[in-house]
Amino acid sequence: MKSHHSGVSKKRGIHRLDRRLFIRGAAGIVVGLPLLESFMPRQATAAEMQVRYAIFFRQGNGVQQGLTGNEPDRFWPTKLGALTTASMQADGDQAVNVLAPHAAKLLIVKGLKYDGLGVDVGCGHSRGGLLCLTAAKPDGKNIERALALGESIDNRIVRELQPAGQEPLTLRAGPRSGYLDDVLSYRGPSDRRTAEQNPYNAYKIMFGVDDGTPSEQELIKARRKSVNDFIRGELGGLLQSPKLSQTDRQRLEHHQQAIRDLETGMSCKLPPELLSPIAGVDNKEAVSNDLVDQVTQMQMQVIALAVSCGLTKAVTLQVGNGNDGTQYTINGQKYESFHHISHRINGDGSEGTAIVNADVKHHDIDKHFAGYFKYLIDQLSSYPTATGTMLDEGVSVWLNDLSTGPPHGSNNLPYVLAGNAGGFLKSGQYVDAVQGAKDQMPHNRFLNTIGAAVGCKNKQGAPLDDFGDATLPKGLVDAMLA
């Protein structure tokens, strides 16, 4: 893979003219995107069409916050209330202060927890991963086989707001180990989605392949139309087979809905200086420990382009496995396995020699993730819109499926948001979801808030307030609302 040290990409133009999106290409040429009608939500009219989106950027293993032993809190702002660049810069070495340049765009939320829903699965990571975006009960299986009994919020957003057959963009970075490789995105009960680890694969799938002349691209388009018509017919025939089980029928219907006549011609694409390194990543490099920083950034470039072009309204990016064992390199030093650091010992359990300054190293990794998140914010901010930048068209969430290192707890889960989803959410604030109350709030209300922010509704047509397990309390997190 070629070396890649891109910082913030050059300003990329994106303008909304009527209902047609335009983007400025690498050579400065403004080219038309496909008409938004092809991405129109089933339940939305053209007048309601907005480029709302939600991005969920997931860190594992909890953060170094002061809930355990004698460790001080090094994560949260030290005071609730307004966040400004100056206030964050003056607030010491707290991890979130890496984001100080974007203080006015941030919403940091404390006071949220997992409701265990009465069932555990034998591993905090497994539990956290499946609860994180679903707020659904586990299926009763143990450890790595445990799955959530409900869809994840990214799936809900796409299912409700995008055409049938489309799915959320589900990405990951960092090495795989075979244990909890993909934890976040659920198509439905016990149906966990596998994340794409190679940013170039993701790019090709979202935007097509830009390797031909216009006439060649027309040929590809014509062939695809013929193939798709033929395959739709075959699937239709199979769906008429006698006595199909409900499961088989759903699978075939999903398959049929997934077939779409993608535009070719690459009307939406990254400039060559960004695309070239991405195209150089092979599948093995994509899961290399030592390339985790580069792959994470590349995935973020793909994400920013995808949401800016209106190709998806929900994205997950998971860095590392369920129990992220990536060895991050920070200030030139390759740290121990993050999972070990999060346990404060050289071990995955409770046995092992102590890691010196493990809490500080955990804090360093938290700051490293803050740096990743800043990169994502920078990417989204580089796409101007008529009213600002893509950042505020949607909401980006840096979250963790656990709250702490030891003991991998689930109280006071860390949520850091950027972008106000068109003014739906507060900006420049650090808020307490329960506003000082002793009992923390189940996190399904946070998921409700994000879903509502991008336009999801409950059955009555009101903003989404009942996502997750039916036994959980309904409602939004009022403290987050603008």
């Binding site: 034998g122 450890i143 040929l219 062939r223 013929s226 199979l238 087979s241 997934a258 995955d348 359990g349």
Partner: protein, 588 residues
């Protein structure tokens, strides 16, 4: 040589057994590393699940026990559209298009989820939705381009008897390629549809009319549901089952035994009705099992059953020098399985064959000297100390902590992989891996930590783990633990039955043992061990979980395992059973 006690597999009175069972099961099954059984994670709070009060036996129905069908005639439910796994897709296109090597295009596909099942099973139920469809599309386009831009490759697809030019040449190619891509003859309407596609494709590229037409045909076939799924269309019920067609059986056989598309001769055999009887299927399967591709398949089966791909991945203290041997431990397991299968073995040999494969770096871990070179070679082990996979360095080290042994996970591996007994979820207690204090053995520490009142491992999980206490965390033999005497004796209550209710109701079979060799030898004689192995094979061959309709099939095949012992013999018997040759009539 350890003292060998008489083998005493005996049943205890039900009332005692129920009392033992009622004590509940352990709290230390939590794990967070995803190795063979997982690893403990401090602070994981555990809640109960599925441990409700015993329920009475359901109403008896003719031919059924409380657990399910006891005859081997039952047919389990399966999807009619099992999707090819990524490896199957790769093998299939290699064979379909007569390619010399895999295309590697499947590397861009979504990986199968590691959900505890087999890769073919995980793939079978996957949905082609969202971007996974787009991945198949891109691969199909790339492969069609590769094949039609190379006259040599394209010519291989044209039957020798095809007309020399024109649409009829394409029609002949479509009929021949379609037979192998759809794994059945195309219908007349399908042939006409593909001919129409050919003509559309030709019109798009008049200068290369035949190649352009075939490009469109090939990329369409590669995206067809009849290619991506192993479609089972047969629909005429015969009582509770629907018999599969000869082509569907040929497809099941080929993917089960060779992990690839059925070759032409197997399709011809199907067309000739040679798969219409159990003996016909068995004859074909027996011949296929002689092929190296079947050996590869059985190697995959064993590696996934015993999770050997992760061997060597458990971190150890630097003092052991473990990193130097870690990379070859999964290779050792692969060679061991090949040795077992190659000599007509099965689970008995996997448990008891005193053989290892070592090189100069791993030999010292077995206490062997005089081995040179990096190549793994077969060695006989001292059968009084080590027998089978579970006393090899790979398993023992994978189920050991950084410096200390991990009897809980060593025991869980035996339970889950040898006996198909997944313990109930642990009670809602805060658990931590016990810290072994000076002057106390690991065993004593674990016994104290898991004593009843905290969580009971006493008869089920701890004993099979304690049997291996003469092996340290990297699998080396030890006579003592830091000067303290070791105790590798125990009494293990092997549960009976396959449902939670049956396991609660039936008295366990108690095994008294001294040491790993004794325990493994006794396990090799246990009916449940062989039935479990048979159920693993059922699950793998059918690419689906074993359900209650297949209880009798598992019992029958288990008896076969105990009698003949050969994995290949069990498979050749398995394919004659109704559950392989039919599917359940009622959709679920």
């Amino acid at each position: 040589m350890p003292l060998r006690l008489p083998v005493t597999a005996r049943r205890i009175p039900p009332v005692i057994a129920r009392a033992v069972q009622a004590l509940g099961l352990l709290g230390l099954v939590a794990g967070c590393t995803g190795d063979i059984t997982g690893r403990l994670d401090p602070g994981g709070k555990l809640d109960p699940g599925g441990t409700g009060a015993p329920v009475g036996a359901p109403p008896q129905t003719p031919g059924k026990s409380p657990e399910g069908v006891t005859t081997p005639d039952g047919v389990g439910w399966a999807t009619r559209f099992p999707k090819l796994s990524n490896e199957q897709w790769e093998n299939t296109v290699r064979d379909l298009f007569y390619l010399d090597a895999p295309t590697d295009l499947s590397k861009a596909f979504s990986p199968e989820p590691a959900d505890g099942g087999y890769d073919n099973q995980a793939a079978a139920g996957q949905t082609i939705a969202g971007d996974s469809w787009a991945r198949y599309q891109l691969a199909a386009e790339e492969l069609a381009k590769l094949l039609t831009s190379d006259p040599q490759k394209l010519n291989k697809l044209i039957p020798p008897s095809a007309p020399s030019a024109g649409v009829e040449r394409a029609r002949a190619t479509i009929i021949d390629l379609g037979l192998r891509a759809y794994r059945r003859p195309l219908t007349a309407a399908e042939v006409d549809g593909y001919v129409a596609l050919f003509e559309q494709g030709s019109a798009l590229t008049p200068a290369e009319a035949f190649g352009g037409g075939m490009n469109l045909v090939i990329q369409t076939m590669l995206q067809s549901p009849h290619f991506l799924y192993r479609v089972e269309s047969s629909s005429k019920p015969d009582g509770p089952r629907i018999w599969l067609s000869g082509y569907e059986l040929a497809t099941r056989l080929s993917y089960a035994l060779w992990n690839t598309t059925p070759p032409r001769e197997l399709l011809d055999a199907a067309a000739a009705g040679q798969l219409s009887t159990p003996d016909g299927v068995k004859g074909r399967a027996s011949a296929m099992l002689m092929d190296p591709r079947a050996a590869d398949t059985l190697a995959r089966f064993h590696a996934q059953t015993f999770r050997t791909a992760v061997f060597g991945s458990q971190g150890k203290d630097d003092k052991f020098g473990f990193d130097a041997i870690a990379p070859v431990l999964k290779d050792e397991a692969r060679l061991f399985f090949a040795d077992v299968v190659g000599q007509g073995g099965g689970i008995r040999d996997i448990l008891t064959r005193p053989v290892a494969f070592v090189n100069e770096q791993t030999a010292p871990f077995y206490g062997l000297t005089g081995i040179t070179g990096s190549e793994l070679r077969r060695v006989d082990l001292d059968p009084t100390r080590r027998v089978g996979l579970f006393s090899q360095v790979g398993y023992l080290s994978q189920n050991g902590a950084r410096t200390l042994t991990d009897p809980v996970h060593r025991g869980l591996g035996i339970l889950r992989q040898v006996l198909c007994d997944d313990p109930d979820p642990p009670p809602p207690i805060e658990i931590k891996t016990p810290v072994v204090p000076p002057g106390m053995t690991t065993r004593a520490t674990y016994e104290k930590a898991t004593a009843c009142g905290v969580g009971c491992h006493n008869t089920l999980i701890n004993p099979p783990g304690f049997a291996f206490e003469h092996f340290d965390t990297v699998g080396r033999w030890r006579d003592d633990e830091s000067g303290l005497p070791l105790d590798d004796t125990g009494t293990f209550g092997a549960r009976v039955g396959w449902t939670p209710e049956a396991k609660r109701e039936n008295p366990p079979i108690m095994l008294e043992f001294k040491g790993a060799v004794d325990l493994l030898t006794q396990l090799a004689q246990l009916d449940r061990t062989h039935e479990c192995y048979a159920r693993h094979l059922l699950q793998f061959v059918l690419a689906k979980p074993v359900d209650e309709q297949e209880l009798g099939a598992g019992k029958l095949l288990g008896k076969g395992s105990k009698t003949s012992g050969a994995a290949s013999s069990i498979v050749s018997e398995l394919v004659t059973l109704n559950t392989f040759r039919a599917r359940a009539a009622d959709p679920q």
